[in-house]
Symmetry: C2
DNA sequence: CCCAAAAGCTAATGCCATTAGCAAACTGCG
DNA sequence: CGCAGTTTGCTAATGGCATTAGCTTTTGGG
């Protein structure tokens, strides 16, 4: 019997693919094992049970969306950067729906403070820095931005918006409105 | 053997209580049956399997938050109504976390267009009407409001906000900022 | 070439959802 | 009051999944 040649990374990536294709709550050790042509218990040599597997997917998602947002924002600033980052955020959630659901639960499956190559919160924060918001207001502003983006994407992917039309426009307006809010944020200066 | 005297409503309410106490994904037919002092298969006489049970919880949550928001907004208008509605929304999510998670998935477990006593989306929409937003912009404005509120509450309850302090203030600022956004919404008039 | 560590496997356990079929309890009607 | 039909709840059985234990085989370094 030849070996399958699995590694923790290979297993995690297959799990992430499965999550994106079938939905994060279809993720099971059994399903991943089947896709890898391996018996279920074999996976325990590479990941720490179902919880560990979910955590790996969450980690892939967190790093993935962080990089996407960062890449989109680089070389831009102000409203321009905000729109680019927001679009990248939403696009990532669309192309990797399973990872996106998983990453929301990161703290639940992985301990606090896991090693992230690119923290998406940090990437969004960088975008806001260009708006000249008072330092003690940054926490609030970042939370507001994350809330708006995540809320929209989450409602959208769950089919929470009854009418299918104009969703792109709704998002653009949301980001637009948020940009204006930022410019008038309490204690903030103005730029562009 | 005396009968337990269950009804669909009793089962649904116990399921909702369990969801709020233990988390929505701890909801299982077995757990509900145990709390009701009944064997698991007995529940099938009252609800349509696990999916049906989840749907009932989602329905309770949807009606519950809808009523809470509506009750909060009645007799108020403009920014005042918005703050009251937003606070009621968040308070409901805090006091009924299981139901809140469940209601996000309503379309998934119940068919489209279930009979709601009070549609929370409608309740929020009523609040926005006071802002004099152009009719064709209402869809976008409602989506933006729902996104902001849901996003914040969702991130918060998942422990997405690392720093525990100032969360109330963050929310107040979010709503505040949104109110200003509404007043400048494309094509909107102004009121208060 | 050999041997220890690693990778996979089968077997077994336990929890859960779901279905089938049975028995007791309630209902309304004569 | 009695009885038939319906309803409710039960036990038994099946199948899927996660997890653990213990075995076998491969593999790579000395």
């Amino acid at each position: 019997m030849p070996r399958a040649g699995l590694t923790p990374a290979l297993v995690a990536e297959e799990a992430a693919r499965l999550s994106d294709e079938e939905g994060f709550d279809s993720l099971s050790l059994a399903a991943v094992a089947k896709r890898l042509g391996v018996a279920t218990p074999s996976l325990y040599k590479h990941v720490d049970g179902l919880t560990g597997l979910r955590g790996e997917v969450a980690l892939l998602g967190t790093n993935g969306i962080g990089e996407a947002v960062q890449r989109a924002a680089v070389g831009r600033s102000g409203t321009d950067a905000l729109h680019a980052a927001a679009d990248a955020y939403r696009r990532y959630a669309h192309t990797h729906p399973g990872r996106y659901v998983a990453l929301q639960q990161l703290p639940r499956w992985v301990g606090p403070a896991p090693e992230l190559s690119t923290d998406p919160v940090e990437a969004l924060a960088a975008v806001l820095r260009g708006f000249g918001i008072a330092e003690e207001q940054m926490v609030h502003a970042i939370r507001a931005l994350r809330s708006a983006l995540h809320g929209f994407v989450d409602l959208e992917t769950r089919g929470g918006f009854g009418l299918p039309e104009d969703v792109d426009e709704s998002y653009a307006l949301l980001v637009e409105g948020f940009a204006r809010t930022l410019e008038h944020w309490p204690g903030s200066g103005r730029r562009r």
